[in-house]
């Protein structure tokens, strides 16, 4: 069954007709030609499909496109103007935070969300004092990035990249 929806993708309004079963991930990749979010597991376990959905990091494989009519979607491709790099992308380059690169767009979007969540003072599972303001330590970043798997195991460089981009002391 079809439904007509509009998505704001990387700042551009895109109108399309989707089957009600279509995930946001498939709508982006197969219908709109935005292959930045990747399909890893398609079950919400790997994080490769992470996007910013109305400003918060989310898994596009577990979102039905029809349920997000009118939503603002930012992919790793749209984080910075064409030809420029977002500070998180720059930090991933400088810290050598990827090898094959398949999980990287999802890692980068997740990292942008993580930094925003720190700025809002959100706690995590490893935050000692729930009522205090969490610091961007290695353990805090690793915990918050645990939903993004990397088969190359570049974690040892991903965590410092997120800390660098987030301005950790």
């Amino acid at each position: 069954m079809d439904a007509e929806i509009t998505l704001q993708v990387d700042g551009e309004a895109r109108r399309l007709t989707v089957d009600t079963r279509t995930s946001l991930l498939d709508a982006l990749r197969e219908r709109l030609g935005n292959t930045s979010p990747k399909k890893g597991c398609d079950h919400g376990q790997c994080g490769a499909c992470t996007i910013l959905l109305d400003g918060e990091r989310a898994l596009s494989c577990l979102a039905l496109a029809v349920a997000h009519d009118g939503a603002e979607v930012t992919t790793a491709d749209g984080l910075a103007p064409a030809g420029e790099l977002h500070p998180v992308q720059q930090a991933f380059l400088e810290q050598d935070a990827f090898q094959c690169g398949y999980c990287t767009p999802g890692q980068v979007c997740s990292a942008v969300g993580v930094i925003d969540e720190f700025e809002r003072g959100w706690p995590s599972h490893v935050t000692e004092d729930l009522t205090g303001r969490p610091e961007m330590t290695h353990d805090e970043v690793a915990e918050r990035m645990s939903g993004n798997l990397c088969r190359c195991a570049a974690y040892v460089n991903i965590t410092p990249a997120v800390q660098q981009a987030g301005g950790a002391r």
Binding site: M1, H125, L130
Partner: protein, 339 residues
Amino acid sequence: MKPFAYARPGDVAEAVRDVAAEPNAVFLGGGTNLVDHLRLGVARPDLVVDVRTLTSREVTDLPGGGLRLGAASTNSQVAADPRVRERYPVLAQALLAGATGQLRNMATTAGNPLQRTRCVYFQDVTTPCNKREPGSGCSAVGGYTRYHAVLGTPAALPDPNAPETCIATHPSDMAVALAALDAQVQVLGPAGERTVPFPELHRLPGDDPSRDTVLEHGELITAIDLPALPAGTRSAYRKVRDRASYAFALVSVAAVVTPDGELRLALGGVAHKPWRATRAEEVLRGQQLTEDAVRAAVAAELAAAQPQPGIDSGNGFKIPLVARTVLATVRGLLPEEQS
């Protein structure tokens, strides 16, 4: 994936009518569990009614000091709310121990407790499962039981071919905290509104393992209320899992200790529902809350525990693990001179 119709009605009353009128209809919230089940073939609805934007996303103060969590408030938002962090640390900790940042941003207050078991056989449509396909049998008995129940199961080993057999556990961390907090579930159904005490929301398999909760078809959770706690109440959630992050509980403990020394205790990963440890609470009633007393109370709670044999050594390890985890959790909540 089987085709389905999608509806986003104008309000919750219409959504309830839509689902009630179609036997094979489901509500859609954050979708983190349902969309996966649509893809796996575990859920095969004809109609999906989207309520995510219809119910409240707000966390509001209740008269008397409690909090109302709107059905569509997200797990991240509730865990980050300063009132929850200050007054209900057990709930913030439980939420933060579950899933990942991305999933917590999508998952909702009403949806989290209604997520379904992660029993590997339930999620594998090629295997018999009484919960997914009533009457087909239970593949977990004698199978992979590491994540399965030790409480609320029959005293003897269950018959894998019996239609009532199910040894699955409820996977939610949030629900364990809500059970310990005596939260109240606000429900809207075809017959009107009702309130369900959280510890009574989920059920044991009984004669119908396909039903996880006491909710009837068409009933929708519109909010979950956290009751006010006496000033000085302390609470904590402790989760034991196979890796440090992003894994379901082997066992978990939610504990609330009031200033007069009353303990409210709930266990996760051990039963078909979030397990309120009422036996242990009874044993402790009127007693000084010491480590020895807690140890004895937990032993009483676990007297009926039934380990499940299975590949990978079964799940008998959970029984001593629960006892130790309760003690480790409660120890941090006792006044200094008693610990």
